[in-house]
Amino acid sequence: MKINTPSKLEKILAAGHLAVTSECGPPRGSDPEVIVEKANLIKDHVDAINITDNQTSVTRMCSLAACIKLKLMGLEPVLQMVTRDRNRIALQSDILGAAAFDIHNVLCLSGDHQSFGDCPTGQNVHDIDSIQLIQTVRHMRDESKFLGGDDISRSPKMFVGAAANPFADPFEIRVPRLAKKIAAGVEFIQTQCIYDLDKFELWMKMAGDRGLLEKVSILAGVTPFKSVGMARYMKNRVPGIEVPDEMIKRMADTPKEKQPEEGVKICIESMQRLKEVEGVRGFHVMAIEWEEMVPEIVEKTGLYPRPSVD
């Protein structure tokens, strides 16, 4: 596999290792120590750390600043960027800003609608969409040009990722949509949280049949349940997440104090099965406000220690 950027994540994938990424949500304040503490919990067990970009449209410390903080700690950030809040000038500008700090991974997203967050009366921008953001970063990197056509001095060397949700509707365009992101230039994919493994395997099979899995690295997204309440919330309230009834039952049948343990167990079992799915090149472990569980999950899945690449 040809290496296009100095990204550590890209190198690990190119070397054929199963990659492990995770994510940290920045604080609702300006204390950088929150990022440092969260990162320290997981840094030895993951290859790269995503910083979310005002997730669920709740205003937080910006992803770029938090990524710089990680970089200064010697860690590998993945800059999440949503197209909700910035036009093409601001997006390109922030890409250059990130590149100035040698942030080598970007995840291109559209972002939740602002009505979910703390500024529901605000405007949204959506000057470009997530697929066009993929194109934008690749254009800036590969052509050394701005969207406006002018040359960029020291182009941003970023490994370009995006999200994919195998479970959202309509299912029939889930693989064509992946194909579209690949055509736009995406190099790695972090999937939505996988609970319905049968459906995920079907999606991967369909992607494989179209020859897509050689063109992109799929990182399977997993999130451990902390409680049966969380499992039900994910099933019923989070758009585009499917949780099989038997998984809910398994959590419900577990005594309350044992539920976190059971949730982690389910997560590890899922990852063991996902490791065997053709085309899965790694994992994106989203332990939402539960970062301390990431090391155990990674270790028990046999993914520790993490490989080193130069």
């Binding site: 939740d112 009505s115 000057d127 997530s130 066009q132 959202a168 509707d169 309509p170 064509p176 579209k180």
Partner: protein, 222 residues
């Protein structure tokens, strides 16, 4: 058509309560169809205001006129002979009519009586929904006749986003996902393969972003 909705009467009263001679000016076009600013609504608003001023013990002149349109010189000219009888106008036209009125009668205070909402259709009596945001560069040929600019909450040109659930938008189950509609329509047209064509970054300069717009046609100018 341009769809508008009635302003709360308290808001209108707050604007006009100091005036003595008020003209309520309706429009016989879009706002009549969407039952916000036609002759009937002019009558309803005038009656409510008369009752308000009566209760206040004030003798306020309130007249009702409904023009064919408020967005054309020739119809707005029809009130030139009577406008001096008033010290304020409440226009129930869309924002276009209110502004044209203000431009033409430069010293006359004019207040909006409706909120102008969107370009849309009458789905059924009492239900109007949006179809167009007048972006100035129509892409409907590529999207099966369904507009993601006006009907997707994120105006995503290459959708759907991950929030599309059972045909509904993530922001509200009662709103259809525009991209589900586009995909259904492409399927009905046997054009689903077109879904994989990436829609390019849009030129928004013909949209609101490009500043106030105009259409000038020399071929039809006198």
């Amino acid at each position: 058509m341009i769809v508008a909705d009635r302003k709360p009467i308290e808001e209108i009263i707050a604007e006009i309560k100091e005036h003595e001679k008020i003209l309520i000016l309706g429009c016989n076009e879009c706002v009549t169809v969407c039952e916000a600013g036609g002759k009937k609504e002019v009558g309803v608003l005038a009656s409510a205001l008369r009752m308000y001023f009566l209760n206040q013990g004030r003798d306020v002149k309130l007249d009702e006129i409904t023009l064919e349109r408020q967005c054309d010189h020739e119809y707005l000219e029809e009130i030139r002979d009577v406008i001096d009888q008033y010290d304020a106008v409440v226009s129930l036209a869309c924002g276009v009519g209110v502004q044209f009125m203000a431009e033409k009668y430069h010293t006359m205070p004019v207040y909006p009586g409706v909120n102008t909402c969107f370009l849309g259709v009458t789905e059924k009596r009492g239900l109007w929904t949006e179809r167009c945001q007048a972006c100035g560069q129509c892409i409907l040929a590529r999207t099966g006749g369904i507009c993601p600019v006006s009907r997707c909450a994120k105006r995503i040109l290459n959708g759907p986003c991950g929030g599309s659930t059972q045909g509904s938008c993530e922001i509200n189950k009662e709103i259809s996902c525009a991209w589900q509609l586009i995909i259904d329509r492409l399927k009905a047209l046997d054009r689903l393969d077109d879904y994989e064509q990436i829609d390019p970054i849009k030129d928004w300069s013909t949209d609101r972003a490009g500043g106030p717009r105009k259409v000038e046609r020399e071929d039809v100018q006198q």
